[in-house]
Symmetry: C2
Subunit: 225 residues, 2 copies
């Protein structure tokens, strides 16, 4: 996690889905930057409820919310997040990416974020990707993010700074961060992480719910010591 | 220009707009790969004629043609290619990108190409960007392309190879290459490079037409020696 020594006078744009991770990042950004904008990208996920929850959380955080329709991404390739005919992998296959993988997703997301941030004179981008709970998504790794940061800078002749406050945190530590930011209850009750579209504790069966619950249990155990 | 020693048994996907450069690349790819696909990306350009011309050229080249609607890109930021209210810069401004610059365009284009190529089991991507007639577009530079190649590989855990046959050619040499590929007349008569949407020699006024004509005159002069 990159430290910003004091609250920056600059603005930041947060890639925001309304899930546990990006909600924690949204409040992290509010602590570290003088102004924050939330960018929510819709790309044909099955659960449009996700967007409505995200909008409400942004409202509660008093952060301007922009929704971008990028459904072209969802149509590019077969994956279980955007294609209702594909059943979701409950476990990661041993030798390949899980079929929830939307190829290129984080390139698209961060490039959209960079172009829109640039329009607002903002160079700070925040995303909730994490290498720790890697789950088989190659575009969540730190090396990828650093490489794309260079590609974005070269493409637009700008100097973007991609912040990844969760990169080296496991899910337990992400709950801890939410607590430190003062939004433990909000994250626990109002965010949607579940692949099956159920807010809060979710379906308890998909990989995202399992990770979320494991981390929460560990954090609550540690806290109760 | 990267050399491929003999005709590869692999396939290639060409980013294809129907302009001089990408048409030359399409025929270059046909010489170097056993099968070729053309991907045309529409992103809210003013001239949909461009797409129809591209489709006809691909047909003439006997290459499968895929059109991708990525109009989300055109709506991201103000530029004269996609916004009819902005008048096009006829000369490049001294200190900034020309207002025909669509920020992030080549990241989006090459990432779309990579995801679609991956669906077909293709790792070779061909694009007509050139650093020589740089014209102020940072995302046409070789360094950017190499950086993005790494980002794409990391994002999808694949090994893509981006070919840029025109990278170090000036417009005169691009005409020469078209001639060597046996498509000089086709490129001269049927491609559309003009920002104002006029095929062949174009409007003769926009920066693209000026570059095209300068190169053609030089090449014809050299050829007549």
């Amino acid at each position: 996690m990159m430290k910003t020594p004091a609250k920056s006078s600059e603005g930041a744009l947060v890639l925001f889905s309304g899930g546990q991770d990006s909600t924690t990042c949204l409040f992290w950004a509010k602590k570290h930057f003088s102004s924050v904008k939330a960018l929510c990208i819709e790309y044909g996920q099955k659960h449009s409820l996700e967007v409505e929850l995200a909008r409400k959380i942004a409202e509660e955080a008093d952060v301007p919310f922009q929704l971008l329709d990028a459904s072209v991404i969802g149509g590019l390739s077969a994956n279980s997040l955007t294609d209702p005919d594909i059943e979701m992998d409950e476990e990661k296959p041993e030798r390949s990416c899980p079929n929830t993988f939307v190829p290129g997703r984080n390139i698209f997301f961060l490039t959209f974020a960079a172009v829109i941030a640039r329009n607002h004179g903002i160079r700070n981008l925040v995303t909730g990707v994490s290498q720790t709970d890697f789950s088989g998504y190659p575009d969540c790794r730190d090396t990828f993010i650093r490489s794309l940061n260079v590609s974005l800078d070269l493409a637009m002749e700008e100097q973007f700074i991609i912040y990844t406050p969760l990169m080296w945190l496991d899910k337990k530590q992400t709950w801890e961060l939410a607590d430190r930011m003062g939004v433990f209850d909000l994250v626990k009750e109002k965010t949607l992480t579940c692949y099956n579209g159920i807010p809060g504790q979710g379906c308890m069966k998909c990989p995202a719910c399992k990770l979320r619950k494991e981390g929460l249990d560990k954090y609550l155990e540690e806290k109760s010591w």
